[in-house]
């Protein structure tokens, strides 16, 4: 594209235009998917709750998202007097960009992605962590006790779950030997999908991701029964829409990321990586896998009850982080061995890696569950004793 345009104008201008075009494509892709997700969510939640879900606006309610969009756009936007104007308005502005920026690195095909940064994954985490700022600013700007409290809680939660999320993907980075997503996907084709190699990491990543974007089991901040609407209590109109938009884009991206990291992104299973088909079908395969994860999140939202706050926080630091560390060191120890065995035995790495890792993970999981059970039993007896003498 850029070389085509460069005939008419200086090279850098051509490049910029190309980037703008690609950027626009990505934004549009993100928005449409976001709308799609809202629709799917309504339908699935409805179906889970034994109801039909949105079906008025257009066939099967397909136009419902558009209706929502129009509603939000035309709603009145009120700025409370008590809010400090600049910071109040700055809130929504800082929530959306991080959600969008992360798409720059997502690989839709072999070499097909916004920009293949060699620190892709770290870029994602860096940008993701800035989203907490938006919430904080919104909370502080609206000068409302509850919104501030809500913001504080949201930030605390997101902060706590960002660590396990990051730690879980370190295993993958170790396996793929690079942070660039293209490289990771490429590596999965060689060694096999990381979901098989790192099942424990996969589970932790999903949990952490859900918490990160405040999705259902962990959607405490803006839960209705809790502190009103959390940090975006004072927001209305499109400002509120922005938060809503950011949330769903995040959900979409998390699913896409999970697909890329664990299910091989744009790869079609059992088809060798260099097959030309990937360039064409790549994006669709990715979208397919992403919507699988979206369905999973919506499923979770529909079925799981909300987690209590202290369990939520404690779970992150006391359970997930240690587990991740164990996982990391298990992989760090096993992978070189696998490399050695494969070299010695001549079998391709994949066939060795997968069984070994699966076995190791199984053992680890068993251990953890046994230990958790034992400690809970012991805690209960302790509590029981305390109670008994009370009579």
């Amino acid at each position: 594209m850029a070389d085509f345009l460069s005939q008419f104008m200086p090279a850098w201008l051509a490049l910029i235009i190309q980037h703008v075009v690609v950027g626009a494509v990505l934004v549009v892709f993100a928005l449409t998917n976001m709308l799609g997700i809202t629709w799917i969510e309504r339908k699935v939640i409805g179906r889970l709750q034994d109801r039909i879900g949105a079906n008025r606006a257009g066939p099967f309610g397909l136009l419902q998202p558009l209706a929502d969009m129009v509603k939000i756009l035309t709603k009145e936007d009120i700025t409370p007097t008590a809010a400090s104007r600049v910071i109040y308005n700055l809130g929504p502005l800082l929530v959306v960009p991080p959600a969008l920026l992360v798409f720059a690195v997502l690989p839709f095909g072999a070499g097909v992605s916004g920009s293949d940064l060699n620190i892709g994954l770290l870029y994602i985490f860096a940008v993701a962590s800035t989203s907490t700022l938006g919430i904080l600013i919104a909370g502080w700007g609206s000068n409302n006790k509850y919104s501030l409290l809500g913001a504080m809680r949201a930030v605390a939660q997101m902060v706590s779950y960002e660590v396990p999320q990051a730690l879980s993907i370190i295993g993958i980075v170790m396996l793929s030997g690079s942070l660039s997503l293209q490289q990771i996907v490429q590596r999965q084709s060689e060694i096999g999908w990381f979901v098989l190699l790192q099942p424990l990491a996969f589970v932790i990543f999903l949990i952490a991701a859900m918490a990160e974007v405040n999705r259902t089991p962990f959607d405490l901040p803006e839960a209705e029964s809790e502190i009103i609407a959390g940090h975006h209590t004072e927001y209305s109109g499109l400002k509120f829409g922005m938060f809503y938009l950011a949330e769903y884009i995040n959900v979409f991206f998390i699913s896409a990321l999970a697909a890329t990291l664990f299910l091989g992104g744009y790869q079609i299973p059992f088809v060798p990586a260099n097959n030309p088909v990937h360039t064409i079908l790549g994006p669709f395969v990715l979208i397919g896998k992403t919507f699988a994860f979206v369905f999973l999140t919506i499923w979770l939202r529909g079925t799981l009850p909300r987690v209590r706050v202290d369990h939520l926080m404690g779970f992150a630091w006391k359970a997930l982080v240690p587990l991740c560390l164990l996982n990391i060191f298990m992989t760090a120890v096993l992978m070189p061995l696998v490399g050695l065995w494969s070299a010695n035995l001549g079998i391709s790495e994949a066939y060795i890696a997968i069984p070994v890792m699966l076995l190791a993970n199984a053992v680890l999981a068993g251990l953890v569950l046994w230990w958790a059970g034992r400690s809970t039993r012991r805690r209960e007896t302790r509590l029981a004793e305390q109670v008994v003498p009370a009579q």
């Binding site: 009145e76 502005l93 959306v96 960009p97 409302n144 509850y146 660590v163 240690p322």
Partner: protein
């Protein structure tokens, strides 16, 4: 090297521009009839009680604190993760031990926080 980041730069501009544009369009479309009641801070419909100063528990600060420490740990672990396969091939178990020590010390910090009850949500 810069090519990739140029795209990121441009994309950043686009991403930053999108919300204001949205808000501007919204500002154009929406009715503007502010009212004193509308403007008041929303407290479940009740009058705001006391000033907005709220006695904050230090708990939030401590979570942020622990997050900072472990965030830095992640920043240091990533290069190791990336270079692990190469290193272990070259130097065997040694780098791993070094990292174990690195993480061990921080886990000690975590255990301290855990033991001291800093992680509990009061």
């Amino acid at each position: 090297m810069l090519a990739e980041w140029s795209f990121v730069g441009v994309f950043l501009v686009i991403a930053l521009a999108f919300p204001p544009l949205g808000l501007v369009t919204a500002w154009l479309l929406r009715p503007k009839r502010p009212g004193p009641i509308k403007k008041s801070t929303y407290e479940c419909g009740l009058e705001t009680v006391g000033d907005t100063w709220v006695q904050f528990k230090v708990q939030y600060y401590i979570y942020a604190l622990i997050f900072v420490i472990f965030d830095i740990e992640i920043a240091f672990l990533l290069p190791w993760a990336v270079a692990h396969m190469g290193l272990s091939a070259a130097q065997g178990i040694l780098p791993l031990i070094e990292v174990v020590i690195f993480v061990g010390i921080l886990v000690a910090g975590l255990m301290y926080a855990w033991r001291k009850g800093a992680l509990e949500w009061i």
